[in-house]
């Protein structure tokens, strides 16, 4: 949580950086470290888009260029602008472009999004090159170092400015990414559908991610102008954007140290490639390291010969090739390409991630969970807004009338009425394809109904987005578990608590009291919710590592974090073992005791019968029966829908004597009623 450790480390880093230009006076090295720092600032931002929201952005060289040229254009046309304003202008302009870029990127993902960003970056480069009235076109812009109080900064003084901004950016970005905002970004990657249904609007946070990332690129770009003292359009090309991506992948995503390492690599690598003799030494040492490391791994059984074959052969071949060639600079791009290929398949978490997992280090997820356990518990973790907004006259929490959901020619829901009373557990059953899940998706805004009316607490929810419906008080779980896999159990629940935060970017960046209060309260409540479903001991575990049964319970805890009045459970018992199912039923009853209304889709009849007050049966998208569980179970139409045709024997307990069928029960004893599997 709010540890002072990052602050201490940052202060230490600042001191080291401040001493650097004093101890090492050579301007070449000062400029080198300065470039690394500038790239690192940009990479912090790129990591938000690539590492956290999980999208490939091929346009960050363009954003970098906008930042650089904002500074350049301002200086060129308004040379008297005070230095303090220039980076601020660059950040603002680039952030604006980031928002513009986000527009076409909103509804697309994957390769489409990559192409959108590539198109954007290409357009920017063209515009910078062509609009020479503004940018001086291919001739470029020359700048001096910033002038403060009538005095031009020396190399060393500017270095200190960059160092300070690097540390500041690192701190701010770290705080943002460790806060609810960072969790929202990660949720986008984990499961966009679940994000929306937990009240975290995918569209909105995508825009935020691009804007913040662009702002950082803008800052980096403006510093770059001053650092290089000359900028021209052809710098901000495809090669640079790929280099930035390579830095993130190689360094390690979702870590600040990864971004720093990545920046160092991409700056040093071309220098290394320029000096063939040095490169040979490094290549040989590197190949030796990989060979030894691979041997150790295989010997310890942590990897197989097959898997290490490619990296070993690749690095040895590279070392060999370096002795054959006299000039490796010409092959620079091919080497970048090869490194990218290797890293993408063999070093998926980057160097930092690899080191961490080898050394068994854990992220802050686990320590956060331990800290959360120590917080005082809230009065009622499963509180709802029932008390606040309940109007006694309103019996029907959900009133769906004549709902029609049509996909092309198929009527998934055909004229269905569903009225759910407050405080009940309402079951929704039916054979495969009867429309149960479609109903659930319609109620949560994933589908917009073709016809009919749906009212929640008296207000129509037709056409509202999933995020708004979630915030209005309807929460759900999913048939195919939609957890945020890379986040811990506690963090998953915290995403559900996103709505409890009112803090803005400034509160988070400066750790103002409002944010600290909200974070503490959310942590305590999240932990208490995990206790409610019995998962508190797994609070620090990554969700994807949890056993299946616990994953389903975690989804319930996360949904409860929305303080819903209505909870929709989609086949909560599917795939659960008998003891898990017993636990589930207990939890469902506890939820109802807290005043929450439930709609339950289930195939496990025993669960439905024992827990539901009223059951609605769908078949072919239509309601065929509704009533108490016992009534529905005996309803001949329901029996026909499920079993088809006529079964000859009645189901009297007295007819328990086997009528000839060979009964080799290799599982449950079917003659014991109520056995849950």
């Amino acid at each position: 949580m709010m540890k002072s450790r990052p602050l201490l480390l940052a202060a230490a880093g600042l001191v080291v950086l401040a001493l650097f230009p004093v101890l090492i006076e050579n301007p070449y090295y000062i400029h080198l470290v300065e470039t690394i720092s500038i790239y690192a600032i940009l990479l912090f931002g790129l990591d938000i888009v690539v590492g956290y929201t999980g999208q490939v952005s091929l346009g960050h060289a363009g954003l970098f260029g906008i930042g650089a040229y904002s500074a350049g254009v301002v200086i060129m046309h308004f040379p008297d602008t005070p230095f303090v304003l220039v980076p601020i202008i660059a950040i603002a302009v680039t952030a604006l472009f980031g928002a513009v870029l986000a527009l076409p990127a909103l509804r697309v993902t994957g390769p489409y999004l990559a192409m959108v960003t590539l198109a954007f970056g290409t357009i920017i480069q063209i515009l910078i090159n062509e609009m020479d009235f503004l940018t001086n076109g291919p001739m470029g812009i020359t700048l001096s170092k910033p002038i403060v109080l009538g005095h031009e900064m020396s190399d060393r003084e500017f270095f200190w400015v960059v160092a300070f901004l690097l540390v500041a950016a690192l701190l701010v970005v770290n705080r943002i990414l460790r806060s609810h905002l960072g969790r929202a970004f990660e949720a986008l990657r984990g499961s966009p559908v679940a994000s929306d249904c937990m009240g975290v609007s995918v569209y909105r946070y995508k825009v935020y991610a691009f804007v913040v990332s662009a702002g950082l690129a803008g800052l980096a770009g403006s510093l770059y102008s001053y650092s290089e003292q000359y900028i021209s359009p052809n710098t901000y090309d495809f090669e640079l954007t790929v280099l930035f991506l390579l830095a993130i992948i190689m360094g390690g995503r979702k870590t600040r140290s990864g971004a720093l390492l990545g920046a160092t690599i991409i700056v040093m690598l071309p220098k290394l490639l320029d000096d063939i003799v040095l490169f040979r030494y490094v290549a040989v040492i590197f190949a030796a390291l990989v060979l030894i490391g691979a041997a150790i791994f295989v010997a310890k059984g942590r990897s197989t010969l097959q898997r290490v074959a490619v990296p070993v052969v690749g690095t040895v071949a590279l070392a060999g090739v370096s002795f054959v060639l006299t000039n490796i600079t010409d092959w620079r791009l091919a080497i970048f390409g090869l490194i990218t290929l290797l890293v993408v398949y063999y070093l998926q978490d980057g160097i930092v991630g690899f080191v961490r997992s080898t050394l068994g280090l854990h992220g802050h997820g686990r320590t956060d969970a331990e800290a959360a356990a120590l917080l005082p518990s809230p009065v009622d973790a499963v509180s709802t807004s029932v008390a606040a907004t309940a109007t006694p006259a309103m019996q029907d929490l959900v009133a769906a009338d004549k709902v029609l959901m049509q996909f092309g020619g198929l009527k998934a829901l055909n004229d269905v009425d569903l009225h759910v009373s407050r405080g009940t557990i309402h079951g929704l059953i039916g054979p495969n394809g009867s429309g149960k899940s479609t109903m659930m998706n319609v109620l949560t805004g994933i589908y917009v109904p073709t016809g009919g009316a749906i009212a929640f607490k008296g207000h129509s929810i037709v056409g509202k987005t999933s995020a708004r419906i979630a915030l209005a008080g309807i929460a759900r779980t999913f048939q195919n578990v939609q957890l945020f896999g890379e986040m811990t159990a506690l963090q998953n629940v915290l995403v559900g608590l996103h709505h409890t935060y009112r803090s803005n970017l400034l509160d988070v960046a400066l750790h103002l009291p409002r944010y600290r209060r909200e974070e503490r309260a959310a942590m305590a409540r999240a932990y208490a919710l995990l206790e409610f479903v019995g998962l508190e001991s797994l609070a620090g575990e990554e969700a994807r590592n949890l056993p299946y049964g616990q994953q389903r319970l975690l989804e319930i805890a996360r949904a409860l974090a929305l303080s819903p009045e209505l909870l929709l459970l989609d086949e909560p018992a599917a795939g659960l073992t008998a003891p898990d199912i017993k636990e589930l039923v207990v939890i469902i009853r506890k939820i109802r005791e807290h005043g929450i209304t439930l709609i339950l889709i289930e195939h496990h009849m025993d669960v439905v019968m024992s827990v539901c007050d009223i059951v609605t049966v769908l078949d072919f998208g239509q309601k065929i029966a509704e009533g108490t569980p016992a009534a529905v179970q005996a309803n001949p139409q329901v029996i026909k829908a499920y079993l088809g045709g006529e079964l000859t024997a009645p189901t009297l307990p007295a007819a328990a004597a086997p009528q000839g069928g060979a009964r080799i029960g290799s599982g449950s004893d079917p003659s014991s009623p109520g056995s849950l599997g």
Partner: protein, 291 residues
């Protein structure tokens, strides 16, 4: 008016090239939900290999099948190294980055083997322009348009008439069900990548006589062809021809009436607008979310 018609014809020829590359995207996307970010480099390699062959004295028409074979091998390599491992670990990020990486590697290799300069490509047809509707049309431009259409028609014919083509379409429809028919869908995917690179290589030798050939010729081609694929929708054949023509003509007109530097802009802006408004493309079909 004469100039306008001329620009339109040039634009159509250019657009057909985009359409052929976009066609390559459709082929791989249909069968594997992936595409080759280095498609432009495949075109460039085709053109340069063709140039070398023609330089060695091989007749242009004879050179074409050889270049196609080269393209097939190149495509299969991309699939094996870049795409198959990513499909196995179900990583979208994986094949995006690795096809980009392979594209970069190919470009660097080309720079070292053929040098960075752009070189003229001898035209197989006479240079004398024909007069058509009052404008000058170069015979090569007609060849480009005809060649592109022939290529796409050949693939269509293959898909409709042979059982192997039907197997490819089946894979596109439903990969799992195709396997249940005994179709080796892995092989189909490799084949579609080979075919995709063939179409790019062919596009390369068609367009090279009109422009210059060199490692940089493909700089924006892959991206603009993607714009065409988007405008046309990644599943519609007719769509990419229409999209290609729109883009090609828009580019030529912008290049002439505004400035050559800006000629790439309309296509890219159109891409952004289409994706912002209709993410499935103008001709594409929107998919239903399944939760």
């Amino acid at each position: 008016m004469q100039i306008l018609t001329q620009l339109v014809f040039s634009g159509i020829a250019l657009g057909m090239i985009y359409a052929v590359i976009a066609f390559g995207y459709q082929l791989t996307f249909a069968t594997s939900d992936t595409l080759n970010f280095g498609q432009g480099e495949a075109l460039m390699l085709g053109a340069l290999v063709g140039l070398t062959l023609v330089g060695m004295g091989v007749n242009y028409w004879l050179m074409i099948p050889i270049v196609c074979v080269f393209g097939a091998i190149q495509g299969a390599v991309v699939e094996r190294i870049g795409v198959r491992p990513a499909l196995k670990i179900k990583s979208e990020f994986g094949w995006i980055m690795s096809t980009i990486a392979l594209g970069i590697i190919f470009r660097n290799v080309a720079e070292n083997v053929w040098g960075r300069d752009m070189r003229p490509f001898p035209s197989p047809l006479p240079e004398a322009p024909l007069h058509f509707l009052g404008a000058n049309v170069r015979p090569m431009e007609i060849l480009v348009a005809v060649g592109a259409i022939l290529m796409m028609a050949a693939v269509e014919l293959f898909n409709r008439r042979t059982i192997w083509g039907k197997a490819v379409v089946a894979t596109f429809n439903d990969r799992e069900a195709a396997r249940l028919m005994g179709i080796n869908t892995s092989l189909v995917i490799t084949f579609s990548y080979a075919l995709s690179s063939i179409s790019a290589a062919l596009a390369g030798v068609l367009i090279a006589p009109l422009t210059l050939a060199g490692p940089n010729m493909a700089a924006q081609l892959g991206l603009k062809a993607f714009a065409v694929a988007i405008i046309g929708g990644l599943t519609s054949g007719m769509g990419i021809i229409v999209g290609g023509i729109i883009l090609g003509v828009a580019e030529k007109l912008t290049g002439f009436y505004i400035s050559t530097g800006y000629s790439d802009v309309p296509g890219l802006v159109l891409l952004l607008i289409v994706l912002a408004v209709r993410p499935a493309g103008l001709f594409g079909k929107a998919t239903i979310k399944k939760v």
